[in-house]
């Protein structure tokens, strides 16, 4: 008999970011810490925080960044409803770097009343993007599983 595998789908309000079948393991940033999901996982519905999500399929691994949202596991189907999500290869490093610097200078700049909460969120987001993108680029060569969206 064929071993049990997971199917994975990551959607935002705007689009389907990623979809794959025959997945061996999903690691996601749950609200209460990193969350590893294997086939035959119990039915679960959880909040997500910002961070990296990894989808392992055989030797290959696809990495994504998600920023908040929900994750549902039921019947070997993992569904992520993300507020924002990107596949790692979609991350615009330059843009993230600019955003990080802008957020930092706004937080440091006491002369103007910037919206600090927003600056902190922007800083956190760009840091997550840069960290994940940096890690991915340093170990090239693994083919990401799944079909990228057209």
């Amino acid at each position: 008999m064929r071993p049990t595998k997971l199917s994975v789908e990551v959607v935002t309000g705007e689009r389907v970011v990623y979809a794959a079948e025959d997945v061996d393991m999903v690691v996601a940033p749950g609200a209460d810490g990193q969350l590893g999901i294997l086939p035959r996982h119990a039915a679960l519905f959880t909040l997500l925080s910002a961070g990296e999500m990894r989808v392992k399929k055989g030797a290959a691994e696809q990495s994504l960044v998600v920023f908040g949202g929900f994750l549902e596991v039921a019947n070997n189907r993992v569904l992520v409803l993300a507020d924002t999500a990107e596949r790692v290869e979609e991350i615009d490093i330059e843009r993230a770097e600019t955003a990080r610097q802008r957020a930092q200078s706004r937080i440091a700049d006491r002369s103007v009343q910037w919206d600090l909460a927003r600056a902190h969120i922007a800083l956190q987001r760009s840091n997550v993007r840069l960290r994940v993108a940096g890690r991915h680029r340093s170990r090239r060569g693994s083919h990401p599983p799944g079909q990228p969206e057209p």
Binding site: E9, V11, T12, G13, E14, R15, V16, G30, A31, D32, A42, A43, L44, F45, T46, L47, F70, E72, A74, L79, L81, D83, T84
Partner: protein
């Protein structure tokens, strides 16, 4: 009758107009396809959020619905209406239809004072012209708005509702039925009418909720409001482009008809002129020979 030269100039000008309307029609057709695609892409997320809310609010004993402000129904003393229009005109009766629907809501359906929020320039301009106060306006969202772009509008509506400045929030938008049909519609987004889905609540009975069912529902509710407004906006954009496509096709057809008419007039005028010249020559010859 106009001289042939004037008629020729007229034909040239109409032909230029037809070229422009034809180009606009094709642009609108391409944008409509993309807009429809975006409406479709937003559906999985919306369906899933709705299903989870249905399930969670049906759990009854497990979740105390009364502790969620966004689900609270109270007597409506003041309502907020979010009017979604296009930024641009030349889309047939689309904008005036949705504005008329909004006016009917304000004067007849609501029965209470209505506070306006405008998304899109046409609605903003209209209510500014008639002197209606607007709480907020969001314009120039472009043909492919992201959810981030409408979050300020949602935050505003949710805060106004929670803090009691308004007791209900409605959206009036143009629902996309098909290329030829678009229907203005009013949708209540707050308080949330918890959708009911028994099959779904059966399915989630054995779910583990992290951190807790309450925390999950608390996080889901604003997302639901958000996706509903977002979908209304996407549908309005698809409607706008298809209405524009049809309007521009009609304009092109009319221009062609006009060109045909003018060409006929031109030929008649030309023939009349030739006849006149011939008879003048004949008359002149007769005078000389006589």
């Amino acid at each position: 009758m106009a001289t042939p030269r004037e008629i020729r100039r007229r034909i040239r000008s109409v032909r230029n107009t037809a070229q422009i309307t034809r180009a606009m029609e094709m642009v609108a057709a391409a944008r409509m396809r993309r807009a429809q695609e975006r409406v479709r892409s937003a559906r999985p997320y919306a369906t899933q959020i709705r299903a989870m809310i249905a399930a969670l609010s049906d759990l009854g004993a497990a979740v105390d619905v009364s502790q969620f402000p966004l689900l609270q129904h109270r007597p409506v003393k003041k309502a907020q209406l979010i009017l979604v229009t296009a930024d641009r005109g030349l889309a047939g009766a689309l904008n005036s239809n949705v504005i008329r629907r909004a006016l009917r809501f304000i004067h007849e359906d609501a029965g209470v004072p209505v506070e306006m929020v405008a998304i899109g320039r046409k609605g903003r301009d209209f209510f500014a012209r008639v002197g209606q106060n607007m709480t907020a306006e969001f314009t120039h969202l472009g043909p492919a708005p992201t959810m981030d772009q409408i979050r300020p509008a949602i935050t505003l509506a949710i805060n106004d509702f929670i803090e009691g400045r308004v007791d209900a929030v409605y959206v009036v938008y143009t629902r996309f039925i098909n290329t030829l049909q678009q229907q203005p519609e009013v949708l209540q987004i707050l308080p949330i009418e918890a959708p009911s889905d028994l099959a779904e609540s059966e399915r989630v009975r054995d779910f583990i909720f992290e951190p807790s069912p309450e925390a999950v529902l608390q996080a889901l509710l604003p997302r639901y409001v958000e996706i509903q407004l977002y979908q209304a906006l996407l549908e309005s954009i698809a409607s706008e482009e298809s209405a524009r496509m049809v309007a521009m096709r009609n304009a092109t057809d009319n221009a062609r008809e006009l060109i045909d008419d003018l060409t006929l007039t031109l030929n008649k005028a030309r023939q009349a002129q030739i006849t006149r010249e011939v008879s003048e020559i004949a008359a002149g010859a007769a005078a000389l020979g006589g």
